[in-house]
Symmetry: D2
Subunit: 104 residues, 4 copies
Amino acid sequence: MTEMNVHADLCVIPLGVGVSVSRYVAECQRVLQEAGLKHQMHAYGTNIEGEWDAVMAAIKRCHECVHGLGAPRISTSLRLGTRTDRQQSLQDKVSSVESLVNGK
Amino acid sequence: MTEMNVHADLCVIPLGVGVSVSRYVAECQRVLQEAGLKHQMHAYGTNIEGEWDAVMAAIKRCHECVHGLGAPRISTSLRLGTRTDRQQSLQDKVSSVESLVNGK
Amino acid sequence: MTEMNVHADLCVIPLGVGVSVSRYVAECQRVLQEAGLKHQMHAYGTNIEGEWDAVMAAIKRCHECVHGLGAPRISTSLRLGTRTDRQQSLQDKVSSVESLVNGK
Amino acid sequence: MTEMNVHADLCVIPLGVGVSVSRYVAECQRVLQEAGLKHQMHAYGTNIEGEWDAVMAAIKRCHECVHGLGAPRISTSLRLGTRTDRQQSLQDKVSSVESLVNGK
């Protein structure tokens, strides 16, 4: 397998910096933007789509940058989806459910 | 503590039903709709907001209904956020990050 | 469905209390002990086994007690496994993998 | 930052292969073993400890090998913990909680 696409859902939680974490989440958005990856923030994480190594490099960079902003500890919750049967975009996944929901 | 609000991010994965899971995800959307809970699907889960017991009852109902549709096994990934310092809606969380991202 | 057994893996992360979280994790162990649920801590969470409502009541109690100890915000990562095809204990799951690993 | 240590908790879920997933979990144990990483399976995942790039390379290899065994789709739940304040082993984390639990 030379290339593997991944759908990720990333939730980075900085510890030791108080209750407000939006500054650190914003930094991760900046990292994903700079990485040129398709991504979409929601209220409890961020969807990311791309080639495995590029997505993982960006997630590592998120940890490095959040530590760089002063967070001494990070606990990240991550979902990773891969499939070999067919290509599917993040939008495809939402659309296929929505058509079922609306069709009822 | 009499009431506790929770922000959840729910990703229900049915096993033993093949690769296509959209039918089961759609069923969960229906359950959340019927429960009258604020919820927003994204490409790797669904944000839910409400009182703890109501949210948890709906998540249990999701498992029951997905089993009812024929899935013999389910593995769910769930994030749960509670706070006592202040009230915050799902939209507040996204907005506070977006204002930081756009302000840069 | 009258009763549903669940395997949970619980990782409670208190925010706004500094980098050391062991005091809060210990409190959750105490809650699970008092609830009389089978549970086993590991280095990144705690396995719990029991009837759905009892497990969920204990997890709610964990959030309440961790807030009670002074944590203003909590972000929990939770896995939930249910199945209708057969009963399986936490130990069964580990054993069935180990027999495959050792049989190779 | 030249090197970053990570504590991971990995739960790989193959879809489209029926309800029994132990064969695929065993394959991941083999991959982690071959990678020479410290790891410890529990009933709902596997703790892994090591340098970030080595851990992530092993997780990618898990996805590749599980697809290689015939699973057309995988959904992984992953926790990732990093800290810059001090070194801490997986065992340290468990021990610091256990001493608090037993001290009560």
